[in-house]
C-alpha cells in the first residue's frame, strides 16, 4: 500500500493504482469520459485533470499512478476551471438534444455539466452538422453529433472482441467514429458498445425511445442464459409513478465482476429477457374436476403432499420420476435431491437441460443453463433415458421446466405422457401444448426469487429477486419445502427449515461444493 494525501486527508491505495481509481476508493469522484476500467488509460478527454503538488501542469488522474507522499487536490479552483473548460469544449460541438436523447438521465456529459459545469457557453458559432442515425450494428445506432470521441467503442472492438469494426476517420473537428469498409458490428457483444458509451452517441434500438432512465428500477441479478453466471443489472418498471401500469423489463446491463464477466455481457444474455414478461405461467392450473373450487396453493400442496406421502408405500417410489433441470438454483437442486432421492427413495431423478449451443470463445459457454455445476454438486447427473424405456414404468411424474418438450418429438412425448397416471409441472413459462397435467404449479425465474448458481468455474453466486414473482407464482424452493412438509416424510428435518438460510445451512453441510459464501 502507498500512502498519499488526497484533498488534505491521508489516503492509501495499492501500489500502481491510478489516482482516479485511488480517489474512487476513498469515495472521491473524479469525472472522466474516455477512461473505462476495462481499458488502459487513453488520456484524450482531458476531463480527469487534477492538481498534483509540485507539478506545474494539471495531471491526468486516469494515467498517473499514486506514489508515496503524493499530494493530490481534486477540487481546487484550477481543477474546477479545467473541468468547466473541457465541458464547454464538449458542449460547444454538441447538439444539446437531451429532451429527445435516450441517454438523458444517465448521461455522463449531462451529469458532469450539472455537477461541474453550469456555465453559460461563449460559443456562438455554427455547430458542425453530422450524421445522426448511422446504423453500425443490428441494434446499434450512432449519432455523430452527440459523440464526444472518447473511443471506448473503438477500443472495445480493438481490445475486447478484437474485431475492429470501428475506427476514427477524418481529423480535427471533422473526426468521427465510423465503420471500416461499412462492415457492421456483428458479434455477440454488440450491446456492450451502447452500454460503454458515456453519452447518447451509440444507442440500442432494443431500448431506444421505450422509456426514460429515471422511470426504471434497478436490481442486481445473475444471468441465467449460460453457465458463465455473468453479473447483471436488471432494469424494470412497474408503471409510471402515479399511474400503475403493467410490469415490464426494459433492459439488462452488465455488472462488473473481474472474477466472472469483467465489465461485459453477451447479446444473448442482454436481449434474452422477453420471456420474463411474455408467455409466463403465473397461475395455478389443475385438471378439470381434480380439486374443488378455484385453484389455491393450499389445496395444491395438500393434494401433492398426499401423492408424495403415497410414495412411501412399498414399491411406489420405483414408479415415480422426477425431471429436474439445472436452471434451478443450488438450493432447489439440493431440495430435489434431499426430498426425492434421500427421503422418498425415488431413484428415477433425471436432469433435463436446454440444448447445448456453441461457445463464442469469450463469455458465452456451450451450456445454455446457469447451474450445471450446481446440479453436479447436488449429485444430479445429466440425462434422461429414452421415453420408450420409461413408458408404463411411471405413475407419478414431476417435471421442472419445459426442456423436455424441446428434447423429444411431440408424438413420443404424447404416448409417454398418456402412460403416466399423474403428471405435475413446475414452471414459470406456460407450456405451449395443452398437456393433460394434473397440476401446473407456477414457479419463478431467477430474476424473481432468491437463490444461488454455481458457475462454469465452480464459483457459487447468490442472487435476490429483482422484482416479486407475479400472480400466484412462487419460488421453486418454497414450493418444494411446502411439499416436503405436507408429505410428512422426515418431519423433524423439514420442520426445522423455515427459509432459504436454513436450506443453505443444510446444503452446505451435505453438498460442500454448493456452500454459499457471497
Amino acid at each position: 500500500m502507498v500512502k498519499f494525501v488526497l484533498n488534505g486527508r491521508p489516503a492509501e491505495a495499492p501500489e500502481g493504482m491510478t489516482l482516479l481509481a485511488a480517489a474512487a476508493r476513498a469515495g472521491i469522484d473524479i469525472p472522466h469520459f474516455c477512461y473505462h476500467p476495462a481499458f488502459p488509460a487513453e488520456g484524450s478527454c482531458r476531463m480527469c485533470l487534477v492538481e498534483v503538488e509540485g507539478q506545474p501542469k494539471l495531471e491526468l488522474a486516469c494515467s498517473t499512478a499514486v506514489q508515496e507522499g503524493l499530494k493530490v487536490w481534486t477540487e481546487t479552483e484550477k481543477v474546477a476551471e479545467a473541468r468547466r473548460s473541457v465541458l464547454e469544449f464538449l458542449l460547444a460541438d454538441h447538439p444539446l438534444d437531451c429532451p429527445v436523447c435516450d441517454k438523458a438521465g444517465e448521461c455522463d456529459l449531462q451529469d458532469y455539466f450539472r455537477r461541474y459545469g453550469l456555465l453559460p457557453s461563449a460559443f456562438e458559432e455554427a455547430k458542425e452538422r453530422r450524421a445522426k442515425k448511422v446504423p453500425i450494428g443490428e441494434s446499434l445506432l450512432l449519432d455523430r453529433e452527440r459523440c464526444i470521441l472518447c473511443t471506448r467503442c473503438v477500443r472495445f472492438g480493438r481490445q475486447v472482441t478484437r474485431t475492429e469494426e470501428l475506427g476514427l476517420f477524418q481529423r480535427g473537428l471533422k473526426t468521427e467514429v465510423g465503420l471500416f469498409d461499412d462492415m457492421p458490428v456483428a458479434h455477440n457483444y454488440s450491446g456492450c458498445l451502447a452500454e460503454a458509451c458515456p453519452v447518447g452517441a451509440i444507442t440500442d434500438t432494443d431500448f431506444r425511445f421505450k422509456t426514460r432512465a429515471w422511470f426504471l428500477e434497478r436490481a442486481d441479478s445473475i444471468c441465467p442464459g449460460c453457465s458463465r453466471g455473468c453479473n447483471i443489472i436488471v432494469e424494470h418498471s412497474s408503471g409510471f409513478p402515479r399511474v400503475p401500469g403493467s410490469r415490464k423489463i426494459f433492459r439488462i446491463r452488465a455488472r462488473a465482476n473481474p472474477d466472472v464477466n469483467g465489465h461485459w455481457i453477451c447479446d444473448l444474455g442482454r436481449y434474452g429477457y422477453a420471456h420474463l414478461d411474455t408467455g409466463r405461467q403465473e397461475s395455478l392450473r389443475t385438471k378439470e374436476g381434480l380439486l374443488p373450487g378455484a385453484p389455491s396453493w393450499e389445496a395444491a400442496v395438500r393434494f401433492l403432499g398426499e401423492k408424495l406421502a403415497g410414495l412411501r408405500a412399498e414399491g411406489a417410489a420405483r414408479r415415480a420420476a422426477v425431471a429436474a433441470s439445472s436452471e434451478l438454483s443450488n438450493e432447489e437442486l439440493y431440495l430435489v435431491r434431499r426430498l426425492f432421492l434421500q427421503d422418498l427413495k425415488v431413484h428415477k431423478i433425471f436432469l433435463v437441460d436446454p440444448q447445448e449451443g456453441e461457445t463464442d470463445g469469450f463469455l458465452l459457454t456451450s451450456e445454455r443453463t446457469p447451474n450445471r455445476r450446481g446440479a453436479e454438486g447436488a449429485g444430479l447427473k445429466l440425462g434422461l433415458p429414452g421415453l420408450d424405456v420409461l413408458r408404463g414404468e411411471v405413475d407419478l411424474l414431476i417435471l421442472f421446466g419445459l426442456n423436455i418438450f424441446e428434447r423429444f418429438p411431440g408424438e413420443q412425448l404424447r404416448s409417454f405422457f398418456d402412460s403416466v397416471a399423474a403428471k405435475i409441472l413446475l414452471t414459470h413459462q406456460a407450456p405451449v401444448a395443452a398437456w393433460e397435467f394434473e397440476l401446473i404449479l407456477p414457479g419463478a425465474p431467477s430474476a424473481e426469487k432468491s437463490g444461488s448458481f454455481t458457475n462454469v468455474a465452480g464459483l457459487v453466486q447468490s442472487f435476490a429477486p429483482v422484482r416479486p414473482a407475479g400472480g400466484q407464482a412462487r419460488a421453486e424452493w418454497e414450493i418444494l419445502l411446502d411439499l416436503a412438509k405436507a408429505s410428512g416424510v422426515n418431519a423433524p428435518f423439514y420442520s426445522g427449515l423455515t427459509g432459504l438460510e436454513d436450506i443453505r445451512r443444510e446444503m452446505g453441510r451435505e453438498c460442500p461444493a454448493l456452500k454459499v459464501t457471497s
Binding site: A41, S44, L60, F89, G172, L173, K174, T175
Partner: protein, 411 residues
C-alpha cells in the same frame, strides 16, 4: 561547420561525401571506440535536439535500456512539418550521407540494428535522394550486416509520411510508421522504453543526427567551441518572409536575432519596415520589433516568452495584416489537429471559426475575449505539445497586436 561543403555538386554521392572525410567518424567509432565512448562524446558535446523541443540528444540516447530482449529502433524524424521550416530538406538534398552516418553512430551508441527514416510525403525528391544514399551506403558496406568488418550491423529504410503535421510529433510518427492512424500516444511510457512496435526507440531529428559525425570525429569539447554554454554548436536558421535574402543560414547558437535578420538575411525588402518576427516555426509566439535584441538560443527565446523551436525565422513587414496572420495560424492548426483530445480538437476549430469571422470583417470585440479564453483552455491541457503549439501563438498575437485586431472588429 555543418554546411561548409554544401553546394558542391558531388557531395550528395557517397564518393563526394567520402572525398571530404565522410564516414571517417563511422570508421573511427566502429574501429576504435566503444558504444559507451560514442555516447559519452555526444553527451559531452551538449548537442540538443534540432526538431523543436531541444532535448539533449545524448541524454535521450542514454534512456534506451542497454540490456533488453527486445529489438531496439532508431527513427530519423524527417517529417519537417512546422510551417516556415525547410532546414532538414536542405540537409537531405545537399548532404544525405551525413544523416545516414549520424544515424549509424546513434545506432552504434545505443546498440540499435534497424533504423527508419520517416520523411514527409511532400519531400518527393528528398526521399528519392535519401533512398539512393541508403543504397549507396549499403553497397559500400556502411549499412548492412557486419559493417566495416565489425560485429555491428544496421539496416535502414525510408518511409514516406502522408501529409500530416502531427506525424512530426514523435509518438504520432511511431503510430504512423506502424501503419496506424497518425495520432500521438499518451506519455509516459516514453519511446525510449516503449516506442516503435512497443520496443525501445530513439527518435532524432535530421539536423541533430547530421551534427553527430563531426562530434564523434572531433570530440564533444570541440563542438562546444561555438554556441552558448547550454545550447552549443550551430543551427540552420531558415529565414523567410519580407527580407532581402531569405534562405538557410548556419550560425552559432547565441547569434542575435537582429543580426540574423539585418546582417545575414540582408534586412527588410526595399521600403518595408519590420512589424513582427516569428522566431522558431509557426508555433513560436510572435515577437515585436522591440524584442529582437535577443540571443538565438533555447534559453533566451524561452525567457522572452517564445521558443527557438525549429529555428525557422519568419519575418513579417508593415504590410502584413495581423488578422491575416491570426487566420493563418488558427487555420493551420484547426486543419492539422488530429482530433484525439478535447481541448485541441474543439479549441483549434473554435479559434479558427472566430479568426475566420474576424478576417471576414464581421468580428466583434468580445470575440477577442472569447478567443483568449479558448486559447487559454487549450494551453497545458492537451495530450501532446500540439495544443500549446496552436494556442500560444494565438495568445501572443492577442497580447501584442490587440489594438490592430480590435480595429478590424465591426463594433
Amino acid at each position: 561547420m555543418l554546411t561548409e561543403n554544401y553546394g558542391l555538386a558531388d557531395l550528395a554521392t557517397i564518393a563526394g561525401y567520402r572525398a571530404r572525410g565522410g564516414y571517417s567518424a563511422a570508421v573511427k567509432a566502429l574501429r576504435s571506440m566503444t558504444p559507451a565512448e560514442v555516447l559519452d562524446e555526444v553527451k559531452k558535446s551538449g548537442l540538443r535536439g534540432r526538431g523543436g523541443a531541444g532535448f539533449p540528444a545524448g541524454m535521450k540516447w542514454g534512456f534506451v535500456p542497454q540490456k533488453t530482449d527486445q529489438p531496439k529502433y532508431l527513427c530519423v524524424n524527417a517529417d519537417e512539418g512546422e510551417p516556415g521550416t525547410f532546414k532538414d530538406r536542405f540537409i537531405i538534398s545537399h548532404d544525405p550521407h551525413s544523416v545516414i552516418e549520424g544515424a549509424l553512430l546513434a545506432s552504434y551508441a545505443c546498440d540499435i540494428h534497424a533504423a527508419f527514416v520517416y520523411i514527409r510525403g511532400e519531400y518527393e525528391a528528398e526521399a528519392r535522394r535519401l533512398e539512393e544514399a541508403v543504397r549507396e551506403a549499403r553497397s559500400q558496406g556502411f549499412l548492412g550486416s557486419r559493417i566495416l568488418g565489425t560485429e555491428f550491423s544496421l539496416d535502414m529504410a525510408v518511409y514516406r509520411g502522408a501529409g500530416s503535421y502531427i506525424c512530426g510529433e514523435e509518438t504520432a510518427l511511431l503510430e504512423s510508421l506502424e501503419g496506424k492512424r497518425g495520432q500521438p500516444r499518451l506519455k509516459p511510457p516514453f519511446p525510449a522504453t516503449v516506442g516503435l512496435f512497443g520496443c525501445p526507440t530513439v527518435i532524432n531529428n535530421v539536423e541533430t543526427l547530421a551534427n553527430v559525425p563531426a562530434i564523434v570525429l572531433n570530440g564533444g569539447e570541440w563542438f562546444r567551441r561555438l554556441g552558448t554554454d547550454r545550447d552549443p554548436g550551430t543551427r540552420l536558421f531558415g529565414v523567410s518572409g519580407q527580407v532581402l535574402k531569405p534562405g538557410i543560414y548556419e550560425l552559432p547558437l547565441g547569434t542575435s536575432l537582429r543580426e540574423l535578420i539585418f546582417k545575414h538575411a540582408g534586412g527588410m525588402k526595399e521600403g518595408r519596415t519590420l512589424k513582427a518576427v516569428i522566431p522558431g516555426g509557426l508555433s513560436a509566439p510572435i515577437l515585436r520589433p522591440d524584442e529582437i535584441e535577443l540571443s538565438l538560443d533555447s534559453e533566451s527565446l524561452a525567457a522572452a516568452g517564445s521558443m527557438l523551436g525549429s529555428a525557422a525565422v519568419m519575418v513579417l513587414d508593415d504590410r502584413t495584416s495581423m488578422v491575416g496572420v491570426l487566420k493563418v495560424v488558427t487555420g493551420f492548426y484547426a486543419h492539422e489537429s488530429c482530433g484525439q483530445c478535447t481541448p485541441c480538437r474543439v479549441g483549434t476549430g473554435w479559434m479558427d471559426k472566430l479568426a475566420s469571422r474576424l478576417a471576414g470583417g464581421r468580428g466583434r470585440r468580445r470575440d477577442l475575449d472569447v478567443l483568449e479564453r479558448v486559447a487559454g483552455g487549450i494551453v497545458g491541457r492537451t495530450l501532446c505539445p500540439m495544443g500549446d503549439a496552436a494556442a500560444c501563438p494565438v495568445l501572443a498575437i492577442l497580447k501584442k497586436f490587440r489594438s490592430e485586431l480590435e480595429e478590424a472588429c465591426e463594433e
